[in-house]
Amino acid sequence: MKVTIEDVVLPSDQCEEIVKAGESGRVILGPGLRKEIDGVFIVKAGVLKKRSPNTYWVESYQKRYVPSRSENVIGVVVQKAGDIFRVDIGGSCTASLSYLSFEGATKKNRPAVKIGDVVYGKMLNASKDMEPELVCVDSDGKKNYMGVLEDGFMFKCSLNLIRKILNPKCPLIASLKNEWPFEMAAGMNGRIWIKANSMRETIAVGNAILGSEYASNEEIKSMCNNIASILAGHNS
């Protein structure tokens, strides 16, 4: 079936608009699109989106993470093997994390990472044929908020929810951050780590995030106010 931008699409649909745009210039095919000999095909069900000038992708529902380059993820260290750590990032296989890819780490000065630690890092390398590679420093050698996440609480959710709360248009973080202080790290692999001053506040943040998955912007705002007032009532 022929489809256009903002349509609901199913696998095997074709979009001629993209092919036409490709004739006059370069186009970027994002997730859910695939170029074959006879045109551009949809491979995931969802909504076909476009960002000007030339980026196309399919917004689809997904729970299982498939590693992709330069995404920030949260992983759990499962094994120490010589000079690398194996980190579970929720994909089909574990990612490797070199002990040298921490801020200030040298061969003499090893970072203190134990099995079971939660780390926040960036995917350096993620090809479907190779083991994914994770780093906890940026290109300047600075940690840039990455590294081992101390204490706190980690939970899993769908990949869509992560994209939703990280979207600047989503009011969730904006309305929560004024109510009480907390730290948060969101991994594109469907994991969220939060740390607040008390257990009650941590649970409140977690519930607010999970509750916003199917809520509209107005509903999210009123839910945040609700949670904040309940919390304030208990504290006083």
Partner: protein
């Protein structure tokens, strides 16, 4: 191929109802009822699997069918094989090399047409899981009754008394036949006519898929 035009337009399939994401822990799940037959399917993957069963070029597909009684039998193996081969053709499994994809099918209620219902439900669960697919597929059943007429979307009584039961699975790309399995005796012409009529009826199933995705795309996008 001469098929009566009016017969191609005048048909009805059993009413379908579906719900996505019924299981919280699996990567994709769907429950589908076609008439009184109800099936629940869960998809997990791509996951890490044993070295022996890994394939360098593509994902290894595993299908498990559980009947209501819970005892595995030879008939389940037959169903697993058909679902596996159909899903293998529909999935772009070369996108996930050295991994495993598990599809679990649980029968909840069997009032005839369990296998086509399982196939459609498996397709919906794959859509929900967000795995890359070459196409979606639709399974359609028809029977040849005692008078020799072809009936689409048969009831349980019609299935029991039928001279032959024909099942077809079509892909959405060019409506070509992906899988076909039959029971009973029929002529070649009957087979061809039944196939053409099921091909037209598969449009209804594809429209149903699109409708379901439309409903939940409002929430995800």
């Amino acid at each position: 191929m001469d098929v009566d035009e009016s017969q191609l337009k005048d048909f009805k399939l059993k009413p379908m109802k579906c719900e996505f994401n019924v299981l919280s822990k699996s990567d994709g799940s769907a429950i589908l009822s076609q008439g009184e037959t109800v099936v629940i399917v869960s998809v997990n993957g791509p996951l890490d699997i044993k070295m022996q069963s890994q394939s360098i070029e593509k994902a290894t597909l595993e299908v498990l069918c559980c009947s209501k009684g819970g005892k595995p039998c030879v008939a389940d193996r037959y169903k697993e094989n058909i679902i596996k081969q159909t899903c293998d053709a529909a999935l772009l499994s070369n996108q996930y090399p050295r991994t495993g994809i598990t599809i679990t099918v649980q029968e909840l209620e069997d009032c005839g047409g369990l296998l086509p219902c399982s196939l459609n439900c498996a397709c919906l669960a794959l859509i929900n899981s967000g795995l890359a697919m070459r196409c979606v597929f639709a399974a359609v059943t028809c029977v040849v009754d005692e008078q020799g007429d072809i009936v689409l979307g048969p009831s349980k009584e019609q299935l029991d008394t039928a001279r032959a039961v024909l099942n077809f699975v079509f892909d959405s790309r060019d409506k070509s036949l992906m899988t076909g399995f039959t029971e009973g005796s029929f002529s070649e012409d009957t087979y061809k006519e039944a196939m053409e009529r099921c091909r037209v009826a598969s449009d209804l199933v594809f429209a149903f898929y699109r409708d379901i995705v439309k409903q939940y795309s409002k929430i995800i996008a």
